[in-house]
């Protein structure tokens, strides 16, 4: 028993000395995930998202007051960086990828859009706004449609119901009245619509008169200048609230990227660990180990233990930098976080052992192992968060151990969940570790 413990200590000590003696490799193992995670974290942080407006062109072929108002409203929107080049130039800019989309307001839009409000969905008479977009940026299309709809509805409603010049009847209402009178609508309905238009016109005249009084400095009985002020607008407003660990905590994009990159580079370290075992075999070191009075379990156990410790150390260092420099915090359970990085260290060690067991030569094995690792980290959500995956891929990626590691780390950091959210990923990774370790022992070639 004593010899087993001292042999284990010697094997672990050896691996740790070797790990720290190769300073170049050490630097890459620790610096690379930090640098890349910093880059991705910066891209994904909320601050960056507000700065990055979508470049959009508005081509106004109508030049009416309504289309001008819509253009102005779009330009004022924080989501867009609006320009108004000629149509041909705008098309070329979209083609080159300089603009994400081009909105074309057609000639006659100002006249036709208010009428279309009462068209009863008759598509033939609806004015058409074309949106030309860059197909490589198709996710922008939804955003453009949404923001455009908001501003068009707001301005068209305002033009219909908001009134014309002071003391005058809104020409849009007059136009609608004439349109209804000339239509083949049932007489009783015509009468009801005419009354509605009259009421709207009456309100509009009163509102305009009141507005003029206010602007001339005459106070209301209650002292308010705006009393009686009236305009049409969207019947709601929105406010975006991030759901993170706490109500007032901001989402930290670095937490997600550091989870992904640390997982990726620690797995790369696991590959090096497996390759080192293959090299030890080639160099005859394995013969020495096998000739020594230690069991196979001690030999493999020592390797697994040392790799687990080193992997845990690397994860801890990378996350320490993330916390010290990039504001990443373990908002959830610290015990869960530690459990996750130790379990992932074990997973890395068994992965490396599997590589050593199934690999034939170091050269041939490295390429395949790197490919397998890249696939695992890609499907695990190290590069792009898994919540952006299609549904089917989100389901499939649960079969990849890195998905559990990254999701677990996200849960313990920026999501701020409790230890119960770490248990499932820990159990899943222990299962994968048992699978990898079992396969490795089964496949391990003990004969020299």
């Amino acid at each position: 028993m004593y010899n087993t413990v001292s042999a284990l200590k010697a094997l672990v000590r050896k691996d740790i000395i070797l790990f720290f003696s190769n300073r170049r490799s050490l630097l890459i193992t620790i610096a690379a995930p930090i640098l890349i995670a910093a880059f991705f974290g910066n891209l994904m942080s909320p601050k960056s998202a507000t700065i990055s407006k979508v470049p959009v062109a508005v081509v106004d072929l109508d030049r009416s007051p309504l289309s001008t108002k819509i253009t102005t409203a779009l330009a004022a929107d924080t989501a867009f960086d609006v320009s108004t080049p000629p149509k041909a130039e705008a098309t070329e800019l979209v083609r080159k990828g300089k603009l994400r989309a081009m909105i074309v307001l057609p000639a006659g839009f100002g006249a036709n859009a208010p009428r279309a409000l009462f068209s009863g969905g008759d598509n033939k008479n609806l004015p058409q706004i074309d949106i030309h977009y860059d197909p490589s940026q198709s996710m922008v299309l939804g955003l453009v449609r949404g923001v455009l709809s908001q501003h068009v509805m707001e301005e068209v409603s305002q033009s219909v119901f908001g009134g014309g010049a002071a003391g005058a009847i809104n020409p849009v209402i007059e136009d609608l009245r004439a349109q209804v009178a000339a239509s083949t609508t049932r007489p009783d309905l015509k009468r009801d619509l005419a009354e509605m238009f009259d009421s709207i016109a009456k309100v509009q005249i009163q509102v305009k008169a009141q507005a003029q009084t206010n602007s001339s400095g005459v106070s209301q009985p209650d002292g308010s200048k705006s009393a009686g002020g009236f305009s049409f607008s969207l019947p709601f407003k929105t406010e975006a609230i991030e759901v993170t660990s706490e109500f007032d905590k901001k989402y930290n994009g670095y937490a997600q990227s550091f989870a992904g990159m640390s997982v990726q580079f620690v797995l790369f370290m696991g590959i090096d660990f497996g390759i080192a075992l293959l090299l030890a075999r080639r160099l005859g070191l394995w013969k020495r180990f096998r000739a020594a009075p230690i069991s196979r379990a001690t030999l493999l156990g020592g390797s697994i233990l040392s790799c687990t410790l080193i992997a845990t150390f690397v994860m801890a260092i990378v996350f320490s930098v993330a916390m010290a420099v990039f504001g990443v915090r373990v908002e959830g359970s610290m015990a869960g976080f530690l459990g996750l990085i130790v379990t992932f260290g074990l997973l890395t060690a068994t992965f490396g052992l599997l590589i050593a067991a199934v690999g034939k030569t170091p050269e041939a094995t490295r390429g395949l192992a790197v490919l397998a690792t890249l696939l695992m980290v890609m499907l695990g959500g190290a590069w792009v968060p898994s919540f952006l995956f299609p549904d089917w891929l989100q389901t499939v990626s649960l079969a990849v151990p890195t998905r559990w590691a990254i999701d677990g780390l996200a849960a313990m950091t920026w999501r701020g969940l409790g230890i119960e959210a770490a248990l499932k990923p820990i159990l899943a990774m222990l299962g994968f570790s048992a699978l990898f370790g079992g396969l490795a022992i089964w496949q391990f070639d003990w004969d020299e």
Partner: protein
Amino acid sequence: MHNTRQATATQNASGLIATNLEKRYGDRHVVSNVSITVKPGEIVGLLGPNGAGKTTTVSMICGIVEADSGSVFIAGMDTNDGFATKRRIGLVPQDLALYENLSALQNLELFGALYGLSGDLLKSRTVEALALVGLSDRAKDKPATFSGGMKRRLNIAITLVHDPEVLILDEPTVGIDPQSRNAIFDNLETLKAHGKAIIYTTHYMEEAERLCDRIVIMDHGKVIASDSLANLYKQLPASQTLEIECDNLPDLAALRKVEGVTDAVLASVPAVKPDANRNADPDHEPQADQTMAKAVNQTTSKIKISLNDLSTDAAKVLVWLGVQGIRVNRVSSGRANLESLFLTLTGRQLRD
């Protein structure tokens, strides 16, 4: 009763006793019925071409490869009985089995710890092992900075740190300069003097001849010869030879009848290049020697005489030539070597 006595004798014996080792890989019989015994203070050379089964045999002795059958006793203990016997064996692999990025001292400490050493004992053993191979002053340096010969010596020192009773060296001098090789030979002779039982696997015949007390020759997984060097040479038709240059050609048929002479042939004559194949042919015709000699100027002839024992029979030949009135101009002696022994035993060169 007899078996019991034999088993007890085996258990009481020190050194290494490997008996009837067998190993198959599928249909391939890699090692067949191999037995090797090495006593303390003895070096046994294990020779054979590539694929002869030497490494597999050594691996079975060290417990790296499990034997299909047979037994290995170290200092009277069966190797199947646990790790106790492994502590008494030291293997020097053919490859440089050391960590280039650990210092020489750290390499020794690692493997010493694997053999259960710790504390002061480990410290003193590492110092002793490094001193034995002449690397005390480089203890803290990494092998990456060592010469090939120094790495080879460190490769041996790592094996010595746990002070094994049985040492197995698998071609320990591959790829090093003569000076380093001599240094290693000195180390091995010191270890032999310390009572270590040593198996020395090599391709180099001169190494085996210099170092080994006994030779085991393997081919196709079997032991084809096992004896002391002197006894093995006796198996050769011409183990020891005497070459004589004389003014006149003696009667070779009469010479062959001299006590201790096993053969006598005309090796060469002036102005005629000798036919090596012809001279090596044991079935040569003596008459042809005479004919050939007469065909040329007979003033100087070189005769190759095979003797049973060079030390005692050479004088008899020289006396006989003097009695015959033949003046001897030059005498040189030669011995058969392991290369020729292997050739004789297998019909193949050792490095085939």
